[in-house]
Assembly symmetry: none
Homo-oligomer: 238 residues x 2
Amino acid sequence: MNKKQILLIDDDHELAELLVDYLAQQGFIVQCCFDGQAGLEQAYNHKFDLILLDVMMPKLNGFEVLKALGKEHKTPVLMLTAKGDHHDKIKGLELGADDYLAKPFHHQELLARIKAILRRIQLVNQQNRQALQHQDTLLSINNIKLNHAVRSVSCHGNDIELTGTEYQLLTLLMEHHGKIIAKDTISEQVLGRKLSPFDRSIDVHIGNIRRKFLPFCTVEKIKTVRSAGYIFLTGENA
Amino acid sequence: MNKKQILLIDDDHELAELLVDYLAQQGFIVQCCFDGQAGLEQAYNHKFDLILLDVMMPKLNGFEVLKALGKEHKTPVLMLTAKGDHHDKIKGLELGADDYLAKPFHHQELLARIKAILRRIQLVNQQNRQALQHQDTLLSINNIKLNHAVRSVSCHGNDIELTGTEYQLLTLLMEHHGKIIAKDTISEQVLGRKLSPFDRSIDVHIGNIRRKFLPFCTVEKIKTVRSAGYIFLTGENA
DNA sequence: AGACTGTGTAAAGGTTTAGTAAAGGTTATT
DNA sequence: AATAACCTTTACTAAACCTTTACACAGTCT
């Protein structure tokens, strides 16, 4: 994992030095500015992963820096201040800060809050990628091919249109090809409900799938196992 | 803008009532649980935008709930507690909480912190989308061309005017052409919100895009995959 | 064989989902 | 403040889909 870069904007040189040391020791790269103006410039020039922003400073105070950064600025900001005043906190947060910590604070708490913010960003990023990333999308057994990315099915190269339920049912059978799948398992996995005594839905779906494959197959791929369930035959058994 | 859903887990009935009222008044939908166990179940069953979690509770305390949610849980958590102890704060934050607020707190500060967390998530989402778009300024598939630099669209050479949302939606589909994009993914990526049960926005946008392309296309480029999503067809499939 | 049970299958009925037009509401612009 | 552009919601329609029903047939047991 590459090191995260932090921009510290604080006119308190003593505190700044302490923080730079501590955070560096914790695996961050810290850049330091001692007034709002300089901080703002740095923020524009470099891309930081996080900004630590003091409120009371010469030239530009923390709130002004926050405003100048603009509503659309992407770098998260954690504000630090000597005042524990609620109005200040609220003002900071509403101006776009991600967190607000009152001085004096424990450096461990600061660290924990920094990590929390960075972790959140990473989580959201992950989430976004995962939503668009499809798991392995090809399943091919016994001349039948499934492509999950497009939810398409083909038999000996011929495209076959299946409904959502039929597709799920076939997928289930193919994922466990060569093994008997009980009807109640199918009902729960595919239809999302317990199998009721006179429920014939599954039989009908199986029938529909078979009918759609019929023109393209010489042998039956889905075999009925009386009073046990259905089974997708592998090449050897077929 | 649709309302954000918050799960409040706190055994202090009096406080809970106050918070529910206040947050509802501020435009949130709040669900309430009075012990850790119930809260955890709710968190698993529904998708919330944020969880407010008290620490001291019967059955399961806040830390235990946090652990049970797991490291990969996606919903942000803001912890509330009577103890202002630093160790507690650090513990909570390290266990995956996004923020930690000590009781008693000003409801305005709570609100500001809630908003800060939600805003950060939305910002990161936006950023992701934009980052994707700026990678390549030209995207050309199946006779449809996008030029991100000037945000223009053409079909067989004919310019087409799309709104911002339509453009983003089309971009998303084209970037993942040949793959199904689920409606809830579209909603999160393009509209920046979770898909609600009766939300028809996406269908309408898709309809509008199709209508604008209609005069210039012989075949449909965007295919509906019932109960799964939409897919931008590649040349071969079209 | 006869009874019983489980399955194949066609068709009817009911439910869910998507297409679409129009109204309502929001935001940005003039 | 008025206007325009846009997004969302609503309501209706059509289509796709799932389940139920009914009956025929096949396997199993006595």
